[in-house]
């Protein structure tokens, strides 16, 4: 446990040193969020009856998306890990007294958390100060807060577990670039990073909701804004648990097999 904590500490300090980078990142995300809301406002004003969710819930969704970008972004890859597999340097990692899967899982978690912790608060506070319906609206009930937190955790673990499968799949292929590319472009859209999933056309939307990617940011952000509640919320939470378990299992099986091959072939 201690070594994981010290890893987090190093990352966090590293992030602190670049204060200009942190500030500039926050400004960027704030502008991005504003643009996003202005865009949806234009659509709302053009045809309010076609809007699939409350405008307030949408604003909340967008601000959470900006604040917690680092937790759920699916286009972020540590090229170091890809590199260590393709060059065979991964063999050094195997000499350590920690299991590779655990080591990298914690690493993925840490990188995302340390980035998010540093940047989320100012954005959340700013967004909270904005006038309704453009700002971040806090839910009244304890119940909603609880399920949002639970769902955010599940979503984050899922994103990391999914990333692990992608990293490990490089053991089985030659081109990490190709995998990265296809996975990134698919997951971006299907997780609701481009437009929130409720805006997808009927038919496509139901299908996308069944896919694992809907278990990332889509669920917690919509619970928090009150768009997802009651029966649908519980189903979505179960879906998150299911997909998390599936990807954890797939990742570990793939790791075991891949390492066997590495050991046999001698890297």
């Amino acid at each position: 446990m201690k070594k994981y904590w010290s890893f987090f500490r190093i990352r966090f300090i590293h992030g602190l040193q670049y204060r200009a980078a942190a500030l500039s990142g926050m400004v960027t995300q704030f502008v991005w969020g504003t643009m996003e809301i202005l865009l949806f406002r234009a659509f709302y004003e053009s045809a309010p009856q076609s809007f699939p969710m409350e405008f307030q819930a949408l604003s909340t969704y967008i601000w959470l998306q900006q604040a917690f970008l680092a937790l759920y972004m699916t286009w972020f890859w540590e090229s170091e890990l890809f590199h260590s597999i393709t060059t065979g340097n991964v063999a050094y990692e195997l000499c350590r007294p920690v299991r590779l899967y655990h080591m990298w899982f914690v690493r993925g978690l840490t990188v995302r958390l340390s980035k998010a912790v540093l940047r989320c608060m100012p954005i959340l506070v700013f967004a909270w100060l904005l006038p309704a319906p453009y700002g971040l609206t806090l839910p009244g009930s304890f119940h909603t807060w609880f399920f949002t937190l639970l769902s955010m955790t599940l979503g984050l673990l899922f994103v990391v577990a999914f990333g692990m499968v992608v990293y490990i799949s490089v053991f089985y292929t030659i081109s990490s670039q190709g995998i990265k590319l296809i996975v990134t472009s698919l997951s971006e859209f299907l997780s609701g990073a481009i437009i929130p999933l409720p805006f997808l056309p009927d038919g496509i939307r139901e299908f996308v909701n069944f896919l694992p990617f809907a278990s990332a940011q889509n669920v917690p952000f919509r619970i928090f804004g009150g768009d997802l509640k009651g029966h649908d919320m519980y189903t979505s939470l179960l879906g998150q648990v299911f997909w998390l378990a599936v990807f954890l299992v797939i990742g570990q099986i793939m790791e075991r097999n891949a390492l066997k091959r590495v050991v046999i072939q001698g890297g």
Binding site: S24, V31, L181, I194
Partner: protein, 261 residues
């Protein structure tokens, strides 16, 4: 040897280098295509649901999107070195450039010609054709010229922004992420006519960073929302943005030579 010929030589070497990494080139090109295809899907589904946005139809939005995308892509292909100027400064390549008896900005531009953007350019062309086909614009010579001017003006504005970004690198290499607002952000949100985002933003994009001069106003003329044909010449005014950008570059360069960092 004049600069145009030298630029051609550089282009040739870039092509040769690229041929050594065909798979990587192909994948990056496809990647560029997929990323902007995602954005296209977003537009498609939104327009499907809402039918129109602030009076602009799907065909018109596509036309606007394709023009912005094309201008950005051309600018990025040529000026990519400025967008990655941090590395050129960081790894000492810029010092090497200063050791050559040529204009430093020219050699910086030569150092990178981003041919992988062809995937995105292709998409822009397809969308432009589709947009022309599906919008109900009556095409006149003036309107065709307007499209050309919009693209030229757009390339100039994006070039100026890349140049400003590079100039800032002379002063600091930290915290430059916010410049993404003007590059990726403008490409991203420039898919819709800028006017839909409201008055405040339109004012900013008219007087501060002249995105609207090459995108929104001439587009109003193109789609017949105004009959004032002067609007079609505004992209030329947008090109003036290159002047302050150039001055900033010169200022930054002289500072770099006095601090060397």
């Amino acid at each position: 040897m004049n600069s145009t010929r030298l630029y051609e030589k550089y282009l040739l070497i870039h092509l040769k280098s690229m041929m050594q990494h065909k798979v990587s080139f192909l994948l990056t090109t496809i990647g560029q295509f997929l990323v902007s295809f995602n954005i296209f899907l977003g537009v498609r589904f939104m327009m499907d649901r809402f039918k129109e946005v602030k009076g602009f139809s799907y065909g018109e939005v596509l036309l606007c999107f394709s023009i912005t995308l094309m201008a950005f892509t051309i600018a990025e292909t040529i000026f990519r070195s400025l967008d990655t100027f941090e590395t050129i400064i960081g790894n000492g390549e810029f010092d090497r450039i200063l050791l050559r008896p040529r204009g430093s900005l020219f050699l910086v531009l030569c150092s990178k010609i981003e041919l992988t953007r062809i995937g995105r350019l292709l998409q822009a062309v397809v969308m432009l054709i589709y947009g022309i086909y599906s919008s109900s614009i009556i095409w006149t010579p003036v309107r065709i010229m307007t499209v050309v001017l919009m693209i030229i003006g757009g390339v100039a504005v994006f070039a100026a922004i890349f140049l400003i970004f590079a100039s800032i690198c002379f002063f600091t290499l930290e915290g430059l992420e916010f410049m993404n607002i003007f590059t990726d952000g403008a490409r991203e949100y420039g898919k819709y006519p800028i006017g839909i985002y409201g008055k405040t933003l339109l004012t900013i994009c008219t007087y501060l960073v002249p995105f609207a001069l090459f995108q929104y106003y001439p587009f109003l003329y193109l789609t017949g929302k105004t009959s004032d044909s002067w609007y079609s010449l505004l992209p030329l005014a947008a090109c003036l943005f290159l002047i302050p950008a150039g001055l900033l570059w010169n200022f930054g360069l002289s500072r770099y030579q006095s601090t060397g960092s």
